[in-house]
Symmetry: C2
Subunit: 247 residues, 2 copies
DNA sequence: TGAAGCTCCTATGTATACATAGAATTCAGG
DNA sequence: CCTGAATTCTATGTATACATAGGAGCTTCA
């Protein structure tokens, strides 16, 4: 099965195996997994800009794996929609036009409104009560600078996780994960807008309260409102800084 | 880029290259593409039953490609959700439990109801008027035996294509394609039920008429009804023939 | 006879060498 | 100087050899 390495066999660098005292559950991922994660992170962070070309040999040299696992990584990125094959010349990071942002949010509306409805029916109230308390601290959190900001984004992730768990539908969760992948690229553009983050926290809070109350209709509509505001904010940020856009 | 072969280099069988008079636009697909299509078709047709094990060497021998393109094919099937990696022993065709059918239809509702709403707004009326006329012939078609049945399934495909075109959203279309892939496995179970097919044609007709009329609400609700009936039919068929189920 | 340990085997993960097609470049001819 | 074709070059597609890990089966000991 999954052959695992703590390090690349050819690169005998850090963490010598002799030093393990207990059980070192360190990296332990395959080369293709490492290549996938690195490329994916770099695309989501914008290090690999939209439109950037990816060459197998070039990338495999850079990351330190052979072409075979790198090809597997690129295949996964293509399935994710983050990379596309170019007709003549290798592969490229997919672009993110204003149109495609609208399209992504259209799918996001369909999925998240449905997910919110389901969550309001199937949720574990304790989980969302806990989340509600956390989100109530968001305004203070956003006054704490970088650390508070980090915690805030963790809260968003916690909310997404709670939603996935409440929905309990692998197909829907997978579709949502796909949307969130592309969303991560967009979020970079609109980050660090304190006023928007405070408003977003309030919108999340309303969704959570609707889920706690089992109010399917309010959960769906509050989600719709939240996504509308989120999209408006992204589009405004893009208009203010068109250079951040790729298309 | 895409290296293409008309035949496997090692299998020097039919269609000798010397006989090409004009331009033979025959198969011309890569080995990995061929492997992917064959495995995918076999899974959807049930030739490779749910739970069946897939071994790289075994399948690459059978299909006539080396392990490298076959691995690429399996990677795509995993991304499709048709194959899953087994912990200890190779890969297996994913199972389709009654629960997962419910889950799939839950996602399908979210996507298709939304798609129907959008289509009712953005559709090209001519396309759907044409479709309406076609679907009106469905009852007669279903009296024509195998040939009519084949034409009927083509009609369904035409409807899906028209819906995709009207939606015009690559993200949504991709998500719908994913659902339809899994749906193809399920449809095998409930096929050849004339009464259900006649009813389904009538349901499609109503959806089409709503889209033509630009009635977003009716389009969505008619879709909901159709999916409810479709799911009921599948579940009834499963209950009548539990052996067809895999889980 | 049962259990524990070891060995072998099998199947995937990885690296590399070779095949091939398309694009870019260069050279020749007008 | 421009245009065309041939060639070279580059990058992916494919095949194969080797590494490795986990399981199954067998053997051995109590």
């Amino acid at each position: 099965m999954a052959s695992v390495y703590t390090e690349t066999p050819t690169s005998g660098n850090t963490t010598p195996v002799g030093t393990r005292t207990a059980a070192p559950p360190v990296a332990v991922v395959s080369a293709s997994e490492r290549a996938y994660r690195q490329l994916r992170d770099e695309i989501l962070d914008g290090v690999l800009a939209p439109g950037a070309g990816l060459l197998e040999v070039e990338q495999s040299d850079r990351i330190g794996v052979s072409r075979t696992p790198l090809r597997a990584a690129i295949a996964r990125l293509i399935a994710d929609g983050l990379v596309a094959g170019r007709a003549g010349r290798g592969f490229m990071v997919t672009e993110m036009s204003v149109d495609s942002i609208h399209e992504l949010y259209e799918l996001r509306r369909a999925l998240e409104e449905h997910a919110a409805r389901i969550a309001a029916t199937r949720r574990d109230p304790h989980v969302f009560l806990e989340l509600r308390d956390q989100f109530r601290t968001a305004p203070e959190l956003l006054l704490l600078g970088e650390a508070g900001l980090h915690r805030y984004y963790e809260l968003i992730d916690d909310f997404d996780d709670a939603l996935d768990a409440a929905v309990g539908n692998p197909f829907l969760v997978t579709a949502l994960a796909n949307v969130r992948t592309h969303l991560a690229r967009i979020r970079r553009l609109a980050r660090h807008n304190p006023a928007r983050l405070r408003a977003a926290a309030a919108e999340h809070l309303l969704i959570i309260e609707a889920i706690v109350a089992g109010d399917t209709s309010l959960a769906a509509h509050a989600t719709h409102v939240h996504l509308h505001q989120s999209l408006s904010n992204v589009l405004a940020a893009l208009e203010a800084n068109p250079a951040a856009q790729a298309d």
